[in-house]
Symmetry: C2
Subunit: 136 residues, 2 copies
């Protein structure tokens, strides 16, 4: 069980977009170049962030991506949910319906992590990294 690379990408995209919030739209091309990752794959991840309403996209010349949500409000968990999905980490395949004690414990553990990550905003990272150069 590991976070996917997509989540790593997504977190960095948001941080970068926070740092460049004044620069207008950032194109896929710009982002892919800067982070030196596959453009079309990155595109899918950015689209997930769009669908999660964290960022918005505009087509055409001078288009690209920009933050949609207030930057101070974007939490780690917002991003993680967008890329990892919303299901529980522990899902029993044997007796799916019945909520059991094991599942309750695992869910409560996940809740603790989740609550923490919902409180932590990516803005905090960005602020510190401004002036420190590239984050990736």
């Amino acid at each position: 069980m590991k976070y996917t690379k997509a989540t790593n990408y997504a977190l960095h995209m948001i941080v970068y977009m926070i740092e460049h919030a004044q620069s207008g739209n950032l194109s896929l091309h710009t982002l892919a170049d800067h982070f030196n990752v596959s453009a079309t794959y990155l595109s899918k991840i950015l689209t997930q962030l769009v669908k999660a309403d964290l960022i918005e996209s505009t087509s055409g010349a001078n288009g690209g991506y920009a933050l949609r949500k207030k930057m101070e409000d974007i939490s780690y968990m917002d991003v993680i949910k967008a890329t990892e999905g919303t299901g529980s980490l522990f899902e029993c395949k044997f007796q799916e319906g019945s909520k059991c004690l094991i599942q309750n414990v695992m869910a409560e553990a996940e809740n603790l992590m989740e609550t923490y990550l919902r409180d932590k905003k990516l803005y905090e990272v960005a602020k510190i990294q401004i002036g420190k150069g590239k984050s990736f």
Copy 2:
């Protein structure tokens, strides 16, 4: 990111072994039959639990598996570490050495979950399920 099926198996093995702690060794055959899962695959998982010193195994007739650690002390996290490994959930592949803020936040979140699961013992589930029949 999901817990593997192996973790699900392992948690249930421990619960079952706690419930049958008086019955002497439980053979792979017995366990695989009872839970109706692949014997050789289950074997690998049990071996992981042996290596984690949660249970012990003895070869030969009347051999099998039995708890090694005191049953009241076996936590969810003990089992999870045995099957999922000990690495962090979030591992950055880009600048591995440098501990950054993102990694710190993700690690702290994981810590909260971990601490909770280290405190929760599987014994509690077993006690309740005694008298309620099969757990799987």
